[in-house]
Each structure stands twice: as C-alpha cells, then as structure tokens.
C-alpha cells in the first residue's frame, strides 16, 4: 500500500491517540506492573557481610568507623554510630581509606634502593634482611656513642603506636621529632595558655546559640570536621532556636559559606578583632572576669575606633558582633587555621579563646568542655609536633653531615617543607633514609630502605583523640581484613608499624619494657587495665567479654568522667600586627585545605575527584581570584598563572575566578604537586607549600603559612579546569521555582 506523507501522519496520530485512550481506560494497576522487580537474580544469592568497628586516625582527626567486609575484602566504610565523636557520620577521607587499602601502587614488600636516589629503582628483600640492615646501622651508631645521629621523624602519633615509638627511640637514645605540614602547635600553645589544657577541648556546638569562629574552617578541614558538622546540624535545626554562626576569615571558606555572617578581615588581624570585641564588652558591660583577664588594662588600646582600619571591618560591625556575643545565652568562640598561621598567630588565638572566659562558658552546656586525661597511664594523645624552626635546624644538621640515619613514618618532609629551607638538598646529605611508608610518598621515594607498614585497616592500635568528646575515652583500632600483602610463605608482605619497631629492638637486644611480645598483646594487656577500672560503658563478667565488647564498639568511654573545675583566667597579652614577606607584592596568598588534607590524601582518586566545595574544581591546583580583579587583568578561568612570592620561587596554577574572593587575596589549595605518591598524584598540579616564605610565629617558631604575598602573572597558556560545575546542564530559571528556597525564619 502506497501512503502519502499526510496519510502516514494521520495514521500515526491515530495510533498514538489510541494508545492514550487505552491507558486512560484504566487497566488494573497490577497488570501494568512490569514484572522485573528490583530483586535482580543476582540479588537472590547474596553473600554474608560482616561489619567491624575500628578507628581512623588519618589526617590527624579521629573517627570511629565500621567497615563492611565480605569474603575477606573491605567493601564499605561507614561511621560508627556508637562512637562519641562522629555518632555515625563519617568523612570522605574515611570512605577513601578503602582506596588506600587496595591502592594499585601500594608497596608490597621491604625494598632496598638499587639505582640512584629518587630513581625509583628498588629491589625486594626479606623482612629479616631489611630489619638486619636497619639494626646494623643503628647498632654501629650505638657502639660509637653517636646515637644522636639517628633521628626518627613521624606524624604526631598517639595511642599505643605512640607509646612503642617513644620507647623505641628512647632505647636507642635517638631523637624523635613529630612533623605536620600545617602545625597544630600554634593552636595547642594558645589553648595551653588560655585553658591550661594539653588537648583540644570539646566545643559543644550542638547546644550553642552563637558560634563565633575565626579562621577555622571547622566544617571542612579543621581539627575534627565530622564531629563539628554533626554539632552544626543540631545547632541549625536540632534545638528550639536556630543557632547563629558568625565566621571571621580572610578567605571565603566552606565554613564562611555556611555562616549567617561572613566577616572579612585583613589577613592576620583576627586577634585584633577579638581584642576589640572584648574591649567593647569590658567598657559596656560589667563582667567580673575582666578584673582577672584585663588586670593590666591592655584592652584599652584595642577600641573599635583604633583597630577598625587595620582589621578592615567597620566600627559598627565590631560593636554588632560584641552585642550578639553578649546577648547570646550559649556563645562559643573558636579559632585556628589561617588565623593562627601568621607571625602573630599564637597571640591571635590566645585573644580569640579568651572570649570564652568572657562568656563564662567553660564546662557548661553549649560551651567549651575540657578533656580529661587518657584512662591508661603512659598512653595519651599525640604529643605536639615540633615546630618549623626545629625542622629548619634539622635540615641544617643534615647538610652538615650530622645525621647518619633518618627514619620516617607518615611524615612527608620532602613535600611539606617550603623550599626556602632546602629540605630536599638536606635529605640528599643523609647517608641512610629509612621509610616505613606503605605508599610512595615524596620522602619515601628518596629513601634507601623501605619497611612498608600495614594499612590502618590491617593493623592494631588505639586512639586517644586529641580533640576528645569532653569525657574520658580511648578508641580501639583492629584489623578488619587480613593484610592485602600478607607476610606468609614466600610472600614478603607488609607488617604493622609497631611490630616492625618491636622486632628491630629485639634484633638489637634492646628491651623496650613493653608488656607483651606483640603489639596486639601490648594493647590487650592494657585493655585488661581498663577492665579493672570497672567503669565506663562496657559491662562484662570476664575480661574476654570486655575485650570483645571494646572491639565491637570500637572503643571504651566513660561519659561520667569529666573535668569539672574551671581553669583559672590568665591575663591577656597584647596582640601585635601581622608581618608579611614581600610587602610590595600584590596579593596575600591564602593556602587552604580542600579535599586532599595536607597532601597526604593526594594518592586517593575519590578525593582527587571530589569537587572542592567552593569552586567545584578537582584533580588540579587552581587559584581563587576575585572575578572583577581577574576581569581587569584579562584573566579568565583556566589561564595558567605564575605565582611569584618575593623569595623568587614560583609555581604555576590555573585561574579560577569567583565572586567571593577578597580583591587583595588569592586562595590556593594545598595537596598537589607531588613527585610521587602513585599514579593518581605524581606530577599533578603544584605545591603551594614549596614557595612560602619562611616567616615564623613570633612565640613558638611555627611556620606562618599564611604570611606570604605574591605577584600573579599570566603565562599565555590555558588548560581546562576539571570541575564539576556545568557537568550537568543548568536548571531552567523560574522565579517562582528557585532551586534553593530560602525562608527568613522557621515560621513553623
């Protein structure tokens, strides 16, 4: 049958109409249900999964996690709902631990270098050989009384790993230094001075009605972000009244984005603002605390009129913040991050935390709760890290040939130190670098001998959190899977860090004085001491029952063991103005933590691909620059910019203009620019830490990592910024159908 076009269309229209009619007649619903239920055939035969509790201490913050294990393989990480700090939530860093465990570039056996240093040429050796090589060299230093020429550099390590490490270095008479690229030293010094505490207190954000934060990106990266995010959720909608967040920062961070009010200040003037707020409160409100706090009358010179200009905030705003703070029932002040990363960093933080004395919120609901000591003597939170200045001195000693053996665990000196210190050259002067790295980080890639440690999901451990929950607790870490590279038969495999040290000490004939032959035994024996305390949340008739309870819950805690006495109020010191390198340079550099921590998480592809909260950029190093400044300079997204501080060193990164960047500032994420670290991080992006000026905190010699200024020039190159924004098309605009709807208050 020949059809004309018109006939064809008529027919088609008719059949479509019939179909509609057919549906409208209303067949019984069951008959229309297509019988392909979501129970797929493969779902019907399912394996058994087990969930094991353990603790993640990567990146310096503690998180209780449970890991789903099927057929001996870890499949999924979730937050431990029992754990006092995160109560079930968890960070992307914990999730991505699985990729660390099964990373294709993990080191699977002890290695000794065969090619030139840094060439990546290694040969596998047995554990006996590896430990013999290390103990031989350490023994030589021991017998010639040169123990001081052996140095152990680790990340700040607490719990039982910290205990074994301390005993090991003590027995050798060698030095032990703790290293963090972004030090918590300044924070800890300030907290010690203001609250007399060695740990970081609990901030009861859940029950606060005003949080005044200075520079601390606490919802994203600062100290214990998962715990704070949990509190933030309650702070917003959990209580009768919605809390108010005022965030003072020189950069528009994720926390600033979530704040009700972002107060932009000039970099390093956060402490001046805190002093000014206190000055307003002391002059307008009668508060007995000022008698102790300001006995010397230092506040007088910080009136809003005096500091407004330097801080870059109006007198009215300072008065308004002071008013808000004094009118709140449960205000909290906290500070850190870039506020403590200036030449006046410690002074800034001391002034900021003193606001809590003004609010008299110590030990109170919605306030600051100090953490009690660890329940096990000798096993505490990680000690403070050594300052940048000490590492600078160490580099000088290395160059002078005074260091013969450098042992490194989870401390990437090669990557994290600014190039003005020449750590790379210094490392090259050390005859023997021994790394305990399970992955090729930059420092491990120049090591001579590698004794690869287990991944934390394969190892035992304990965790006394630096930022505890306000009561006594100790988290337990247990192997949730057998080691992926198991030391078994002809397989060389990896070993637990503490067990490596214990084996080395044994070969050297040193007695570490530990209660147990293996690391697990040491932990278990100390758990018996916990059991004997006969308190805490785990009730059991026998120690075995208690031990199982501790492992099942992921730790031990005693919610009734708190600190009740309020610390004395110490007198306020003045806050100096911040100093910067290269005043003639155009921009302040604001290095910030995005998704890769201090760079140690750069090997994990989920975190590389996780969009930055503000820019949605991934996989690269970008430069946040004000969109109007960029327009004026003819800079557009993806332009390759050269960042040049006064010290002459440069890096290149991609322009990423946005409307929230202060015009005199550029923000650059920390974490890329590794020489190694496996296929997902090597040679990618640039390392902002490497070009910073070595400006120091005036009180404790820490690196003032936000005190560098730089010029920015275009290079003429362009590279597309890998970002999530615009991956999906923009939603259609409809003024009555905003995607994000906002209400001025919860009317209901």
């Amino acid at each position: 049958m020949a059809l004309t076009r018109r006939q064809f269309l008529t027919l088609m229209g008719g059949s479509a109409g019939a179909a509609v009619l057919f549906q409208a007649c209303g067949l019984p619903e069951q008959e229309l249900l297509i019988d392909s239920p979501p129970a797929m055939p493969e779902d019907l035969v399912s394996g058994i999964d087990n969930w094991y509790a353990t603790t993640n201490q990567q990146g310096g913050s503690s998180e209780g996690i449970v890991v789903r294990v099927m057929e001996g393989r870890a499949k999924k990480v979730e937050g431990n709902p029992n754990h006092p700090l995160n109560l079930g939530g968890h960070s992307a860093l914990s999730e991505a631990a699985l990729q660390g465990l099964y990373h294709p570039d993990r080191i699977s056996a002890p290695q000794v270098r065969t090619g030139p240093r840094g060439s990546g040429e290694y040969r596998e050796i047995s554990w006996e050989d590896a430990i013999a090589r290390l103990s031989l060299r350490l023994g030589e230093l021991d017998s010639s009384n040169e123990n001081n020429k052996a140095v152990f550099v680790s990340n700040p390590t607490g719990g039982h790993s910290g205990l074994v490490l301390e005993k090991f270095t003590d027995s050798l008479g060698s030095r032990h230094l703790s290293y963090e690229a972004l030090e918590t030293n300044v924070l800890r010094t300030a907290l010690k001075a203001v609250f007399g505490t060695d740990s970081i207190p609990e901030f009861d954000i859940d029950n606060a009605d005003l949080v005044l934060s200075f520079g601390a990106d606490f919802l994203s990266s600062w100290v214990s972000p998962t715990r704070y995010a949990r509190g933030y959720g309650e702070f917003r909608q959990g209580n009768e009244h919605r809390g108010r967040l005022i965030h003072v920062d020189s950069r528009f961070s994720m926390t600033a984005a979530n704040a009700d009010q972002w107060v932009h200040v000039n970099p390093g003037t956060e402490g001046l603002l805190a002093m000014s707020i206190m000055q307003v409160l002391s002059s307008s409100h009668s508060n007995a605390v000022f008698g102790d706090l300001d006995a010397d009358g230092v506040l007088d010179s910080y009136s809003p009129a005096n500091v407004a200009n330097e801080v870059g905030v109006s007198v009215d705003t300072i008065n308004q913040i002071a008013e808000d703070f004094s009118h709140s029932e449960h205000p909290i002040a906290l500070g850190g991050g870039s506020a403590g990363a200036h030449t006046n960093g410690t002074q800034n933080l001391k002034a900021i935390y003193s606001l809590n004395h003004v609010a008299s919120n110590l030990g109170k609901k919605g306030g600051v709760l100090l953490n009690p000591r660890s329940p096990i003597d000798g096993v505490g939170a990680a000690p403070p890290s050594n300052s940048f200045s000490e590492f600078h001195r160490l580099a000088e000693e290395m160059k002078a040939g005074n260091i013969s053996v450098l042992m490194v665990k989870d401390a990437d000196l090669y990557y994290g130190m600014t190039d003005t210190v020449d750590m790379k050259v210094a490392l090259d002067s050390v005859p023997l670098i021994v790394s305990f790295g399970g992955m090729m980080d930059d420092t491990t890639s120049v090591a001579d001998l590698i004794l690869p440690q287990h991944h934390f999901l394969e190892d035992w451990g304990t965790d006394v959190p630096l930022a505890g929950p306000g009561y006594q607790m100790i988290g337990f870490q247990q192997p949730v899977v057998r080691p992926f590279f198991e030391h078994r038969g002809s397989n060389l495999g990896t070993k637990g860090f503490a067990d490596i040290l214990m084996a080395t000490a044994q070969v050297m004939g040193k007695d570490l004085g530990l209660d147990g032959e293996t690391f697990k035994e040491v932990i278990k024996n100390d758990a018996e001491r916990l059991y004997e305390l006969d308190r805490g949340g785990i009730v059991a008739n026998s120690f075995e029952g208690f031990w199982n309870g501790v492992l099942q819950r992921g730790g031990w805690w005693d919610t009734s063991y708190k600190i009740d006495n309020v610390p004395e109020v110490n007198r306020l010191d003045g806050v100096a103005s911040p100093e910067f390198g290269g005043l003639e340079q155009e921009f302040y550099i604001q290095p910030f933590i995005s998704t890769l921590g201090d760079g140690s998480a750069a090997s994990l592809p989920w975190l590389q691909a996780m969009p930055d909260a503000i820019s949605t950029a991934t996989w690269q190093t970008w430069v946040e620059i004000n969109h109007k400044v960029a327009e004026k300079k003819g800079i557009s997204e993806g332009d390759v910019l050269e960042i040049r501080p006064a010290n002459g060193r440069t890096i290149k990164a991609l322009a990423m203009p946005n409307p929230a960047v202060p015009p005199d500032t550029i923000g650059i994420p920390i974490g890329q620019g590794h020489r190694d670290g496996g296929r997902y991080s090597a040679g990618r992006g640039a390392n902002i830490l490497s070009v910073l000026d070595s400006k120091l905190d005036s009180e404790n010699g820490s690196l003032a990592w936000a005190a560098t200024r730089a010029n920015v020039t275009t290079t003429g190159e362009w590279i597309r910024v890998p970002k999530f924004e615009n991956t999906v098309p923009e939603f259609p605009r409809d003024e009555h159908q905003d995607i994000i709807q906002i209400t001025s208050g919860d009317n209901h």
């Binding site: 249900l33 979501p38 399912s46 870890a74 499949k75 999924k76 990480v77 979730e78 995160n86 939530g89 960070s91 992307a92 999730e95 991505a96 699985l98 990729q99 465990l101 099964y102 294709p104 993990r106 998962t226 995010a229 949990r230 959720g233 309650e234 917003r236 909608q237 528009f252 994720m254 984005a257 979530n258 009700d260 009010q261 992926f484 998704t595 592809p605 975190l607 909260a613 503000i614 949605t616 946005n658 409307p659 929230a660 296929r679 890998p722 999530f724 991956t727 999906v728 098309p729 259609p732 605009r733 159908q737 905003d738 995607i739 994000i740 709807q741 906002i742 209400t743 208050g745 209901h748």
Partner: protein, 246 residues
C-alpha cells in the same frame, strides 16, 4: 508495619554544609567508575548525588548556597514513559528503577529528566585490578552504553528487607542497613530516609510538618508536577542578599 512501602527522602538544606561526604559515600557503595580528570573536562563525570553550589551577590556581601541533588524518584516521572524498552519504570515501592540489562542507551530518559540526575556510561568503566577488591558485590557494574542513576541504594533495601524477613524481625524506621549510603554518611543529618506510607516514620512526620502552611517543605520544580519522593526543607536566612543564581 505497613502493607506497602513508599520510599522517600527529606533533605534539610539548612543543615547541609556542602562537604561532599555523601558524594563519595555513594561512589563507594554503588561502584561508580572513578571520575578521572578527562571525565570532568569532557563534562561526563558521574555523580548520582551531587552538591550544587549557587552564588548570591559578590564580595563583600556574598553567599554560597549548597544543595544535594539526587534522583527525585518522581511519582510521575518524565523519564519513564520515554524509555522504549521499559528499562526505567516505577516499582510498587515508589522507586524509579533502572534495569541495566534492558537499557539500550537511547538516552531519551536523560533528555526527559528535568533534574539532570541520569548519567550515561560513555566508556567501559575501568579500575586497576587491586581496586576491584573494593567493588560492592550487591551492585551491578554498568558497562558502556548504559544509563545509570541514584537507586536510593535499592540493594540495601532488598538486603535489609530480606534479612529482616529471614530473622522474623520488623524492619525499623531509620535502620542503618536500610538507609542509602549518602544518608548514613551525612554528618550533619541533613538527609533522612524512610517510608512515606508509614505515618509514624520520621520522614512522614517531617513531611507533614514541613508541607503545612508556613512549613519549610518544598519540592524541586514543583510546577512540573513530577510528584517527587524527595522533600526539601528550605534554608533559613535572615539576611538574603538576592535571589540565588547559578
């Protein structure tokens, strides 16, 4: 216990911090291919749940707002009638379901979806051999040419339903085995999952409360009449700079 289930979610954007914890949890649970740099550059990265960031104003009066967006599991889903092979259909538990082995990759559903939550596999997904150890055995790995999207972690619903039936237990509201991965990951509790057919479930109560006059509830692009199974709770802000824009 109710006779039938209607799974749904409540998203409180006043609690959401934009941390992306849900995004990574989803990728881990659902065997989503690793989004490499080139995938972002080609605008073909896959995220079943994503955080959208909206700017308001500019320095110094500037705000950034975050909203998590995933498949809305529409009651009247625009993606369903356009599929020529019934690869996407509505099941009797309120889920918009994707049957991978039916999908022939026409991408009509992605065209139809107003929320842009459907993602197409332009490549065969690849993992280094060792990373395959992490893959979730409960979730099919989608091959090239297949459309995929948020399933409300249907495998968790299936497993927990099956296990509770086996053990003769009642599946409780808020059970962590039932919750999608994103909900369990969310530290600030901005995502709540549950059964809208159960009047006593948390989501039902929140929905009832939120959809009243003066409540904070709304549906994304409600004017389209898609009858979504995700209810959003409005952001609270005393000082709105201006209407948000993308």
């Amino acid at each position: 216990m109710v006779d039938s289930n209607k799974w749904g979610m409540v998203v409180d954007i006043d609690r959401c911090t934009g941390c992306q914890g849900c995004v990574v949890a989803c990728q881990s649970e659902n065997n989503i291919p690793i989004n490499l740099e080139e995938h972002f550059n080609q605008r073909r990265a896959i995220q079943w749940i994503r955080i959208e960031r909206y700017w308001e104003g500019e320095y110094p009066d500037v705000k950034a707002r975050f909203i998590p967006i995933m498949c809305q599991h529409c009651g009247s889903a625009p993606c369903e009638p356009v599929c020529p092979v019934y690869a996407t259909y509505h099941n009797n538990e309120g889920l918009n379901v994707q049957v991978y082995n039916r999908c022939i990759g026409t991408r009509f559903c992605a065209n139809g979806c107003p929320y842009h939550v459907r993602f197409f596999n332009f490549w065969e997904p690849e993992w280094p051999e060792s990373l395959k150890n992490q893959l979730n055995p409960d979730v099919t790995v989608r091959s090239r040419g297949i459309m995929e999207k948020c399933s409300f972690c249907v495998q968790r619903i299936q497993r927990s339903t099956r296990e509770s039936e086996r053990d003769n237990e009642v599946l409780e509201d808020g059970d962590r085995g039932l919750n999608p991965a994103c909900v369990n990951a969310c530290a600030s509790n901005s995502l709540i999952f549950g059964n809208f057919n159960d009047p006593d479930s948390t989501v039902s109560k929140m929905k009832e409360d939120a959809m009243q006059e003066g409540g904070r509830g709304y549906r994304l692009m409600e004017n389209l009449g898609t009858d979504t199974n995700v209810i959003y709770l409005r952001k609270v802000d005393e000082f709105v700079v201006e209407a948000p824009h993308g």
